[in-house]
Symmetry: C2
Subunit: 353 residues, 2 copies
């Protein structure tokens, strides 16, 4: 299995995950329903941390829960275990072997906090440490760069937020039935997004000389901006710098100049008007080289190139919008003559403390 195979495996992984794990996750949601939960804390590193950022927005949107991303160094370096009795604590790790992530979960469970592991290794230390386990069952991921385990983690979070949010239907995502239906439609949308590979490849090959760029996203797709930038760094050695559109305007915008490469995710939904305004300004005032990911042809036309995705529910956009971004990073890497399977200096499992 190569990185390229793993990218294309994602719709099948998603289909299996949604079918097989929904009952497991609904059981977890029922077990949690009696507990006083005031906040969610998510511990993760690397790509899993971008799934955590997605969770930060989604648990906020569906459950109105404040979500803290754990600072594992507090425990592993300074020896402090935060008070987490009234928290739902989620550890996300592909390998389940990151000692600092395991440490946060073990500390929380010791205090009686609710704990869930989201992992691709059901027999890992993380799965052992947590009270509940969601096995994303993506199959072995051999490439160093995470792809199918990342989208599987996103889907696990979406399933969990939907199951916990039973009855809390709101403006975002509609009724609970709408949310489950949107999830069920996801694998086909993912396959459609991956079907654009030829176009993505030619846009990416034209940018094989890319050595730095800015990556913009907002709301749910801020996670996508972070993950796209990480793929470009680890695979293609591109100095890609991700921002939420709002933070970008608070300083880093000083970096751009004519032809500066800017990548942006701008899917339909509440964030689109603001994103569109910023993208038009980047084109008209600063004349950057803009590549967009969008389901909206008019938005794709703002930039010098556009990567098409099908339209899905806004809260599920990150699961689909990352797919052309992964392909883009893969083909920039190929275009640069680098080894996409074995990025230099890094290993599949990084045991940070």
């Amino acid at each position: 299995m190569s990185l390229h195979d793993e990218i294309h495996e994602q719709p099948a992984v998603a289909r299996r995950l949604i079918t097989e794990q929904r009952p497991v996750i609904e059981r977890i949601a029922r077990a949690l329903s009696g507990r006083p939960i005031d906040l969610v804390v998510i511990a993760a590193r690397g790509s899993s941390d971008h799934a955590a950022i997605y969770g930060q927005y989604l648990f906020g949107a569906f459950e109105r829960l404040p979500v803290a991303l754990a600072t594992p160094a507090l425990t592993s370096v300074y020896g402090v275990v935060p008070r987490l009795e009234r928290a739902l604590v989620i550890g996300i790790s592909q390998s389940g072997r990151s000692p600092d992530v395991v440490g946060v979960i073990a500390g929380a469970r010791g205090q009686g906090g609710a704990t869930i592991a989201i992992t691709n290794a059901a027999d890992s230390p993380l799965a052992e440490a947590a009270e509940h386990v969601i096995d994303v069952a993506a199959g072995p991921e051999r490439a160093v760069a995470a792809t199918k385990t990342y989208t599987a983690q996103l889907i696990a979070i979406a399933l969990l937020a939907t199951a916990i949010g039973e009855g809390s239907a709101g403006a975002i995502g509609g009724s609970t039935a709408d949310r489950w239906a949107a999830l069920a439609a996801l694998p086909d949308a993912m396959a459609e997004a991956l079907g654009t590979e030829d176009t993505v490849a030619s846009i990416a090959r034209e940018r094989a000389a890319l050595d730095r760029c800015i990556v913009l996203g907002r709301g749910f797709d801020y996670a996508t901006a972070r993950e796209w930038a990480l793929k470009l760094k680890e695979l293609a050695q591109v100095g890609a710098d991700p921002y939420s559109a709002a933070d970008f305007m608070h300083g880093p915008m000083a970096l751009v100049e004519p032809d500066y490469p800017v990548l942006a995710i701008a899917a339909s939904g509440a964030v689109l008007p603001g994103m569109r305004e910023l993208l038009e300004r980047l084109r008209d005032q600063y004349r950057v080289d803009l590549v967009t990911v969008s389901d909206d042809p008019a938005v794709r036309a703002i930039g010098s190139a556009g990567l098409a995705i099908p339209r899905v529910a806004e809260w599920l956009s990150p699961v689909v919008s990352i797919l052309p971004a992964q392909l883009f990073a893969y083909h920039v890497t190929q275009g640069r003559g680098l080894d996409a399977e074995h990025p230099r200096w890094i290993s599949k499992v990084t045991l940070t403390h």
Copy 2:
């Protein structure tokens, strides 16, 4: 007043803040002491967001409270107000005019959550929205890039965490008396750090051709890495990429190659052994061009250049370690012939929604 003047004003601002605001902050801490607080939520943008990251570690270390950095887009874009009845919600903004930060505070106060504004504008919308106000009283900041308001925000957070933590003395920072004493010693240490400007200037001028770099910090000084990178971006147009040392090893390390510029903050304390190991590896295996900020001469000697700071309590390190970093960014900017007072494209007050 120029940016350079404002940098050098910081010890005086700190001295005034510590003297004048301590009673105000102790009053706020008493007012909060009867409330059930399970978590802290901090809303901020730009440099203020780096002060928020410092708060994330410090409230964790002193109060054992989980700290969430607010995602203002949830409220301003998606219309969701998270449940914050049992939260202490802090808004940090120099101007007090960022609508998205004001929105988080107003939403929390409407639910009966405890709210505090940390601002340089005591008559701003943010100060009006919050129940309690800490006026950092840094005087007008005319340069677009924040310097004295950033260190003042850090100190306001340190004062608040110390006042709230009365009686919760622990391994970090020692007794409450030790903590107040460490705060009182800060202005002199800041003046000493700024006294190294000639050395910093010559190291920075040698790197005027810098166009990208990685900035590493960990624990409390992760905030410093973020803020240093932002100064380099907005002032000197350097594509500076900040990481916690742990996250760096989960992928972005693939970017480095011989002579790649790496800046690192490595002050004495619990994070130093891990930082030292990483820095030695970067030197020995990858032969990067390493510039360190440290109070430890042996750590400064690991790199090709070292910026000296005096030793302060580890939890206060960010207040001092950012000072040579600001000077470094200033002199790189001068060396590149750019205007440090008016960075291109950005304005002092950014009204993001």
